[in-house]
Amino acid sequence: MSDAATARFKRGAAEALRQELRRGTLVLAALAVLREERNGTAVREALAAGGVDIEDGALYPMLRRLEEQGMLTSEWRLEGSRNKRFYILTELGASTYASLVDEWQRQTAGLQHLIRKVEP
C-alpha cells in the first residue's frame, strides 16, 4: 500500500472509531432531550445544540424504535398546516434514562481514571 493510501486508511479507521464512540451515546442524548415533549425536528435541533449530529434518516427510525421499546410515547398534533408527531419519555423511558446516566457517569469516571493513569 502506498503512503497516501495508508494515510487514507488510517484516517478512515480513526473516523470509524469516532463514529462508534458517538453512536454509543446517541440513545442517551435522545432520551435526555425527550424529557421535554418535542417533535422530530426539535429533537434534531436540540441534539445539534448539544454537539450531537444525526441524520434525519437515522433519527426518525431511532425514535420509532425507542417507542416500540416502550421508552417513548407519541401523539399526532396539528402544527401549522401539518400533522406532526410529538414524542416524550414514558415512565419506563425516564427510569431507563436515569440508569443510563448512572452507567455513563460510572464509565466516564473509569475512563478518566485510565486516561490519567492514576494508580487505584
Partner: protein
C-alpha cells in the same frame, strides 16, 4: 408524482404494511418541512437538483427503511469471514467432484453433449444445496452460539 412522493413510495415499499402509513406520513411532513425551510431561505421554489440534495441528505430510501427494521443479522460480522471461507470450500468441492465425474464418464465413452448438460445441472443443484446447507448451519450457530458481552 413529485420527487418526494416517489421517494416515499420507494421507502414505503420496504416497510411492513402495518407500519407503512404512519412512518410515511411522518417522513412526508419532515421532508416537506425541509423543502419549505429551504424555499423560505432562498425566496423561491427549489429546483429538482436542490430537492434531490435534500433527499440525498435524508438518506437512500432502502437504507432509511432498513433502519426501521433493524434486527439481529442472519450471520454476524464475527462469523462472516469463516462463513465465506466455508462456502468457498464447499463450492470448490462440489465443482471438483463434478469435474471428476465428467472425467470418469469421458473415459467410459459417454456422449459429450448430454454429459456436459447433466454435469451442469448437477453442479447447479449442488451449489444451491451447498449454499443452503452452509447458510442454514451458520444461521443456527449464530442463533444458538451465544455472544460475548461488549
Amino acid at each position: 408524482m413529485s420527487m418526494i412522493e416517489r421517494y416515499l413510495k420507494r421507502l414505503g415499499f420496504w416497510l411492513p404494511v402495518g407500519k407503512r402509513r404512519e412512518i410515511v406520513m411522518e417522513l412526508r411532513g419532515v421532508l416537506l418541512d425541509r423543502v419549505e425551510a429551504a424555499e423560505a431561505a432562498q425566496g423561491r421554489a427549489l429546483t429538482e437538483a436542490e430537492t434531490r440534495r435534500i433527499l440525498d441528505e435524508f438518506g437512500p430510501a432502502m437504507l432509511v427503511a432498513a433502519r426501521y427494521l433493524q434486527g439481529p443479522p442472519v450471520i454476524s460480522g464475527m462469523l462472516a469471514f469463516i462463513y465465506w471461507r466455508v462456502l468457498a470450500i464447499a463450492f470448490t468441492a462440489i465443482v471438483t467432484v463434478q469435474l471428476i465425474l465428467i472425467g470418469v464418464h469421458i473415459t467410459s465413452g459417454s456422449g459429450f453433449g448430454p454429459l456436459l448438460r447433466d454435469a451442469a445441472n448437477r453442479t447447479l443443484i449442488g451449489l444451491l444445496l451447498g449454499f443452503f446447507c452452509v447458510t442454514a448451519s451458520f444461521m443456527i450457530i449464530e442463533r444458538c452460539g451465544g455472544r460475548r458481552p461488549g
